[in-house]
Amino acid sequence: MKILVPVKRVIDYNVKPRVKADGTGVDLANVKMSMNPFDEIAVEEALRIKEAGKADEVVAVSVGPAKAQETLRTALAMGADRAILVQTDDEVEPLAVAKILKAIVETETPGLVILGKQAIDDDSNQTGQMLAALLGRPQGTFANTVEVDGDSVIVKREIDGGLETVKLTMPAIVTTDLRLNEPRYASLPNIMKAKSKPLDTKTPADYGVDTAPRLKTLKVAEPPVRQAGVKVADVDELVAKIKALGIA
């Protein structure tokens, strides 16, 4: 079985994003970029399934600018076998990404596609579900544990009230939640080795996908700023303040 892992290059999760003064977006010039944290978890899970002898190849794929190659090299350094970059400088919405991934799935025929549950930049939480719908395949979103069992996969999902377990017939789509695993660090020898692993470059047109956005961003603004309030000296003063709020 083959596992396909889509990864996205996003602003590093530790960086506080700055909104551009002209309101057209967030300033990404000279900002540290990294692999989306949920995608690192997806790569790690795919590698663990392979290491358990339940998959024989892990293919990483990214849709984005030329620099997304670095993100793919990171996935290769973690242990992915090869990578596909669908290169475009346009911002590609989840629906178009899902369509590109669908075309890749149709040629690669993976048993599992493991994606992050959401990208920390657009916070959409859509791509995996859309891909599953386009392929007519089942989905195990917000996965907390993933267990491949013959031709099905058992996914424990994080839901609002707790956890839920579903059984999906493969091929299936899984999206990762944070507690699925702890991603490994790539060692220096593996980073060196990753440089010689195959990385194919394609374009959205190769897959016949139109990436024109359906949503037009009219403006991006700073959220309302919260002012720091007062510091109280001791618990008595805090008690008085809480009582004044009328909750106790």
């Binding site: 920390i120 995996g128 579900q129 707790g162 377990t165 059984k167 507690r179 037009k216 720091a228 618990v235």
Partner: protein, 309 residues
Amino acid sequence: MKTLVLVEHDNASVKDATLSTVTAAAKLGEVHLLVAGSGCAAVADEAAKIAGVGKVHLADDAAYEHQLAENVAPLVASLMESHDAFLAPATTTGKNIAPRVAAQLDVMQISDIIGIEGDKTFTRPIYAGNAIATVESSDAKLVITVRGTAFDKAAAEGGSGTVEAVSGPGDAGTSSFVGSEIAKSERPELTSAKVIVSGGRALKDADTFKEYIFPLADKLGAGVGASRAAVDAGYVPNDFQVGQTGKIVAPEVYIAIGISGAIQHLAGMKDSKTIIAINKDEDAPIFQVADIGLVADLFKAVPELTEKL
């Protein structure tokens, strides 16, 4: 505009998240509801009483019992032939189903909206709430998930909707429900609690979390939340987590104890009306957003606070 709202329920009663979504839908036009489940006629009757609701579509079929997205999404897609917009609460249920519906209709979903600026124009937070985007859809049909804390709840009584049975394609046969582990709690549900007491890594372990946070929460009739660090360290189950990847809350009062205030945590609670922070590190970022801050050792301050309230 005719809107279709997904009712969040457990086959017994309507969940609160539905009510805020109805408010958002009413701003767009006529509100129809969808109750998909098994043995859930009572849910449909309850849903029909929500103020402002027209028709309630009831799809009662074993295939919908656990609201598996593979089965519910085609049902929604078929109902969308006679509706202009589909709205679901941005809960794990809504987030699971709605994008699948959107892809089936070949439209882009607008996730987690916090405002409605026009028929096709919405505001939504991006970058963990560090920016607010205003987006306009060019799609013929709208698929939207709604952030519950951003819209008032519609009144649960006073409506006079009519229930109409519908049937859908049924079981897609690609997935099945195995089981669930639902955390039991006597406390108010986190996303609808008026007061939340939340603990972070500084609580040390599961026992001290219980010992220090729960009595204070009980005293205030508050829901209990946690930072990701506290969840990862195993102090509390994951459904306590507040933040970008957990629950988004906006209570009247949020009390953050031993939480530094990383941007991922702030994304989940910074729209709370009043934020109170107790932390021994006076430089903790949480104090930059806290209305009331106390620099103190929580192991001394919290028991004292609980006792004096």
